[in-house]
């Protein structure tokens, strides 16, 4: 018996069975006061369809899934390195092609065309709204936070504050708050875009200048506090923000430049194009910055602050810059949310929200713009798909269970994210090699830049 458990594949099977049984329980029916064990029984004994082939009970289905998972895991652990080597050898030629400039620009252009045509392809009201409220907004927030966390290496747990400031600025300048707007003249939300972006950048500088002298954990705690302060202010300053009741209705944005007049209305699609325009703008600016001296200085500070100072880089200045620049896209996201949803409430700007964005950045690949965009789109799309109707017993409140599990799995198998940033990936490899005292060359494997 003991020998049986000592075998790795047996242990792996037991672990897989345990994990799958947990998933089975999580996705099963809930229990009730009168029948406390109903959830447990139902999770296993409820009837289910075996991939639409025949009717059976849930436990059969899950046992099958467990065995398949076990088989795949065993195969991957034994043959994984070989498969990976074959794949990367097979990819050498395609990689040469994708590295070429025209190919890259072509691919980006094609993606943009898809993004532009998307509202025509997907016409359901649910998804058109989700594209703006759940995907575009999160992409904007993720690429902004990526500047702070990914480029400059500063852990910001209060990023939601900039989003909130952007949203509340919109409410303020349009006269939707108890606090009267500037010169008692309410502006159209469209003009709150530059004002909100400017204000959040100032907020970034005001928060950053005193706090960015702190390092690591201390900075994380302070930013956490900042996020909470902003939420609590929004909640309690009745005279200014109208407290937990939220803002008065915010008008829809419109623009009138000479003969050109456009009014954004109730439909989400126009907001989608507005968001898309700004996403492209921010992506261009952020990627130019990444490959400029500013981006290199951020990398230098992230890797070795003392060495960075020794060549004349002022760490504080660059960190504050990262804070302000990263805040900009959150400011715009705030305007977008406020002007589209008509009302804003302090309850939408919570710590969980900040962490949610951080998870998107980590899963996508810290420091990798493509990764972060993909991560945000992927996670948000799957979340929305699950929210839209009944799927496998998923409850919206379970989201964090799955996100947490996904995060753990990713950290083990792909710590640098979905599409890792080259620099970040190398940093992780180097620190792992340091830990294991392995040979560095092996970790880098002739990895020329």
């Amino acid at each position: 018996m003991k020998e049986l458990f000592a075998k790795t594949y047996v242990r792996r099977l037991l672990i897989t069975l345990g994990v799958v049984a947990t998933v089975e329980l999580m996705t099963g029916p809930p229990g009730s006061n009168t029948a406390p064990t109903a959830g447990f029984r139902g999770s296993f004994a409820e009837s289910a369809s075996f991939f639409g082939l025949f009717k059976t009970q849930r436990w059969v289905l899950f046992l099958f899934i467990a065995l398949v998972a076990w088989g795949i895991a065993s195969f991957w652990i034994n043959k994984g390195p070989m498969v990976r080597a074959t794949v990367s050898r097979a990819l050498v030629t395609p990689r040469h092609i994708t590295a070429k400039r025209p190919v890259r620009w072509g691919a980006l252009g094609a993606l943009l065309v898809v993004a532009v045509l998307l509202p025509r392809i997907e016409t359901s009201a649910f998804w058109q709204a989700a594209m703006v409220e759940q995907i575009a907004v999160y992409v904007l927030l993720a690429i902004g936070l990526n500047v702070v966390v990914g480029f400059a290496g500063l852990l910001d747990l209060g990023y939601v504050a900039f989003y909130a400031i952007g949203a509340y600025t919109t409410a303020w300048v349009t006269g939707a708050l108890p606090l009267p707007p500037l010169f008692h003249h309410a502006l159209n939300p469209f003009w709150s875009i530059p004002i909100a972006i400017l204000l959040v950048m100032v907020a970034g500088i005001l928060l950053g200048a005193p706090t960015l002298r702190l390092r690591g954990d201390y900075l994380a705690i302070v930013t956490l506090g900042f996020g909470e302060i902003v939420t609590i202010f929004a909640n309690n300053l009745y005279g200014i923000t109208n407290g937990s009741l939220g803002s008065n209705p915010i008008p829809h944005p419109s623009i009138q430049l000479g003969p050109v007049k456009y009014v954004w209305g109730l439909k989400p699609v126009p907001y989608y194009y507005l968001a898309l325009g700004f996403i492209v703008l921010f992506l261009v600016i952020f990627s130019l910055l990444e490959h400029s001296r500013v981006g290199r200085a951020w990398t230098a500070i992230r890797e070795d602050e003392v060495a960075a100072e020794s060549v004349g880089i002022n760490p504080l200045k660059y960190k504050v810059m990262a804070f302000a620049i990263g805040a900009a896209s959150a400011g715009f996201a705030g305007v977008l949310t406020a002007s589209q949803s008509n009302n804003i409430f302090p309850a939408s700007f919570t710590l969980t929200f900040s962490i949610n964005i951080l998870v998107l950045v980590i899963l996508g690949g810290m420091g990798s713009i493509a990764g972060v965009v993909l991560g945000a789109i992927l996670i948000q799309t799957v979340t929305e798909y699950l929210n839209n109707g009944q799927h496998w017993g998923y409850q919206p409140s379970d989201l964090y269970i799955y996100l947490g599990a996904l995060l753990i799995v990713m950290m083990i198998f792909r710590p640098a994210g979905l599409i890792p940033s080259k620099r970040r990936k190398r940093e992780i490899l180097l620190s792992e090699a340091d830990h294991e005292n392995a040979h560095l060359d092996e970790a880098l494997l002739g990895d020329d830049v």
């Binding site: 130019l288 001296r293 003392v306 060495a307 100072e309 020794s310 002022n314 810059m321 830049v449």
Partner: protein
């Protein structure tokens, strides 16, 4: 004394009750290869960190004569500010931007001492592009100077010890310094690398006109390279002179080399 580049007067540096530098006074002439030696814990690296703005001594003055002949006080300035005055340095345990290539490491040095235009960097304007081109050219030049041209695209972390030193020197030179401070450059290098390093250091002074301030344990290297030496012990200067004078100085032999004079050559 108008050709003095570093003028250190009565500097005392304390960490709580521990006196790391005690009333240290020394100076470096422009264009000189100066060495500071002393046993472990004598305060050599503390002196370096004080000269570069990393530590802030409680007493004394450190004056540095910068590019335009203007005298600036180092004490009270932050390290990055000191670097922009024209003081470059390397570190005892080499500190590089490990995940970046050799080229990028040096380029960061070449571009960082100039003022930044964030807006220019965002928009990638003509000024930024010109700046970038200049930094690239300077980087190529310096990699060639230190002999790392072939390793321009290698990740810094996979360079040998000798190459890391070269990289650090190139990165320091990229900031267009007046003086280069080298903290034990020969540590961890083999004899042939040491020889090349000594040549490189001499070339930095001769070809680029950069003064050199050196901390080193390797006596052979120091004695062959330095034109003048200071000896530190227990945080204070105990001797000053040419290599010959130092070798003959009984106080130095007693304090630094211990009682066994044989160590002088072998260490």
């Amino acid at each position: 004394m108008n050709d003095v580049i570093f003028d250190v007067k009565n500097v005392t540096l304390r960490f709580g009750g521990v006196v790391s530098l005690n009333d240290v006074s020394l100076h470096q002439n422009r264009g000189e290869i100066l060495a500071v030696i002393g046993p472990n814990g004598a305060g050599k690296t503390s002196l370096f960190n004080s000269l570069t703005g990393v530590y802030q001594p409680q007493e004394g003055t450190i004056n540095f004569v910068g590019r335009n002949g203007k005298t600036v006080s180092i004490i009270g300035r932050k390290a990055f500010r000191v670097a922009t005055y024209g003081v470059a340095r390397t570190f005892q345990a080499s500190r590089m931007f490990s995940a970046l290539s050799t080229f990028e490491n040096v380029k960061i040095g070449a571009e960082s001492h100039r003022g930044i235009g964030v807006v220019g960097a965002m928009l990638h304007g003509p000024g930024t592009r010109r700046d970038e081109k200049r930094s690239d050219e300077r980087t190529v030049e310096l990699l060639n100077f230190v002999g790392l041209t072939e390793k321009a695209n290698t990740i810094a972390a996979s360079l040998s010890y000798g190459d890391r030193r070269r990289l650090e020197i190139a990165r320091g030179l990229a900031t267009d310094p007046q003086v280069l401070l080298l903290d034990e450059p020969a540590a961890g290098t083999n004899p042939s690398e040491k020889l090349e390093l000594a040549n490189l250091i001499r070339r930095v002074r001769d070809d680029m006109g950069v003064s050199i301030l050196l901390i080193e344990h390797d006596m052979k290297l120091v004695m062959s390279l330095a034109e003048r030496l200071y000896v530190l012990n227990f945080g204070g200067v105990i001797a000053e002179g040419t290599p010959e004078e130092i070798r003959a100085n009984p106080v130095v032999i007693e304090a630094y080399l211990g009682s066994t004079t044989e160590d002088a050559g072998s260490k």
